[in-house]
């Protein structure tokens, strides 16, 4: 039971991350390699403010979102003007810098020890413990992120973002303030990532740098495109598949087999095959 709930939570948290990544990559064409960093900043801000700052969970969560969005805007202003390849490099560098800072700003992050005992959220007198309560809480917050994304995708904003994604030059010639819009979207996406980070902190009650490293962002990209970009359903299917697939192997017996590595191999194979036979992702419409 708890095992199942835990998997549900994992899928939800990653889905919330993928949907904000989709806003950047799928809709606006901002190829962000720093999403894991913003996820991490959000998680650490929440943990640090609650544990060291003694803030209540809600204020901490909101503050985390605001801080992260602000950082994203500051980083975006100079870098979002760069050409595609250079922007990827810039984000890649930012990602590594953030990890290094997390490991070394001990007063705020407790360095490589990570921050323990992040309080569980409580609403009124009701304390969200693990189990069903936690699942519902996380589902609710994830729901908010999905709702926002859905709202964006139903407003004129969508067409504008797609115009920027498909042809920045033409978009400018149509009077769209491309740079400003990209900075705005980048900050919003980062803010959502921070929200996911807060969820992660509340659920595990422990944050450590190695949850926000390069492999995390690679996993997120894979989830996005396996599910299918520009697709709400895809943002759930992708994480579900890529999280549940390895879990299946916990139930594969087979003594004398190196199950973990076999699972890794099949995982890799899965990515290749999906891209070959469903380039638009399992439930997506837009070819990657």
């Amino acid at each position: 039971m708890d095992y199942t709930l835990h998997l549900v939570v994992l899928v939800l948290i990653y889905a919330s991350l993928v949907v904000s990544l989709d806003l950047l990559i799928g809709h606006t064409g901002i190829l962000s390699f720093a999403h894991a960093a913003f996820y991490g900043i959000g998680a650490y801000a929440t943990a640090s403010l609650t544990v060291y700052g003694g803030w209540d969970w809600f204020s901490a969560m909101i503050a985390a979102v605001v801080i992260t969005a602000a950082i994203a805007a500051l980083v975006g202003i100079p870098t979002l003007r760069l050409g595609g390849d250079y922007f990827i490099l810039a984000m890649f560098g930012f990602q590594l810098i953030v990890i290094t800072l997390i490991l070394n700003l001990e007063p705020i992050t407790n360095g490589p020890f990570g921050i323990r005992n992040v309080p569980r959220p409580s609403i009124g007198s009701f304390h969200v413990q693990s189990g069903l309560g936690m699942v519902l809480f996380i589902a609710a917050v994830t729901g908010i992120i999905f709702w926002a994304h859905w709202r964006f995708a139903r407003s004129p904003m969508k067409a504008m973002l797609h115009a920027i994604r498909d042809d920045e030059t033409v978009a400018m010639s149509l009077g769209i303030d491309v740079v400003r819009t990209k900075i705005l979207v980048f900050a919003i996406g980062a803010g959502f990532a921070a929200l996911s980070g807060a969820l992660m902190a509340f659920y595990f009650r422990y944050v450590t740098a190695n949850s926000f490293v390069l492999s995390t962002i690679i996993l997120l990209w894979a989830m996005l495109f396996v599910g299918g970009s520009c697709s709400i359903a895809g943002a759930i299917v992708g994480p579900a598949i890529l999280i549940l697939f390895p879990e299946l192997f916990r139930f594969v017996g087979g003594e004398g087999l190196d199950i973990p590595n076999i699972q890794e191999a099949l995982y890799g194979l899965l990515l290749i095959l999906v891209m070959i036979f469903r380039p638009q992702g399992l439930v997506g419409r837009r070819a990657a």
Binding site: R151, R154, P156, D166, A171, L174, G175
Partner: protein, 259 residues
Amino acid sequence: MEAILEVEEISQSFGGLRAVDKASFSANDTEITSLIGPNGAGKTTIFNIITGFLPCESGKIVFRGQSVRELEPFEIARRGIARTFQDPRVFPDMTVLENVIVGIRQKGERPLWALLRGGRVNAEWRRARERAEAILSTVGLIDRANDPARDLSFGEQRFLSIARSLVGDPAIIMMDEPTVGLDRGTSAKLLELMTRLVEVEHKALLVIEHNMDVVMSVSAKVVLLVQGAVVASGTPAEIRRNRSMVDAYLGRKHAAASH
């Protein structure tokens, strides 16, 4: 007939070579002005400078009496200078209608607004939609309104790109080789549209054109560019008087093109 766009002595060089060399000309309101000249004469470069995609090294660009030289491309567009590109560059994934609506700036584009009041429902959106449909009927694409743009023929895409440039209700539309790659019938339709834009919608057009017949038939003013410099400008008649000079340049170009 006052000048709506005045370009004075603008220059631009890439690395060593001078792409635009102290070029000066002006375009009048409710008229078609044509930029002609051999390939590499800097016509498109001038377009890019006027619309702000390339920095203007020196000289003045005055639109309706105000300098637009330092502005960002999107600001220039909002001031009322629209442009098309050599390729139609439509947005393939969007429908024809969406392609046009994108050009209409709306409050609903702002994230907060989009979040709190779902854009599509509000009146603003309806107005935008009606405007877009009106424009599509002007260019004769209304019955394709809901097809994805990628399904349009090249010619239709060219018309769509022009429709898209119209939505901001610009005072001047800059068209980069509008008739290139179109068959006789289609380019005839396009000329018709251009004249309509001038006579009915009272727009000014600044057109880069290679097809001399087109130039001479529709232009009120012709500007001949060679190696980034304006060597002649005036009415088609005056340019014709300079026939020798025109042939000297365009003739060579035609010869080059024919191989």
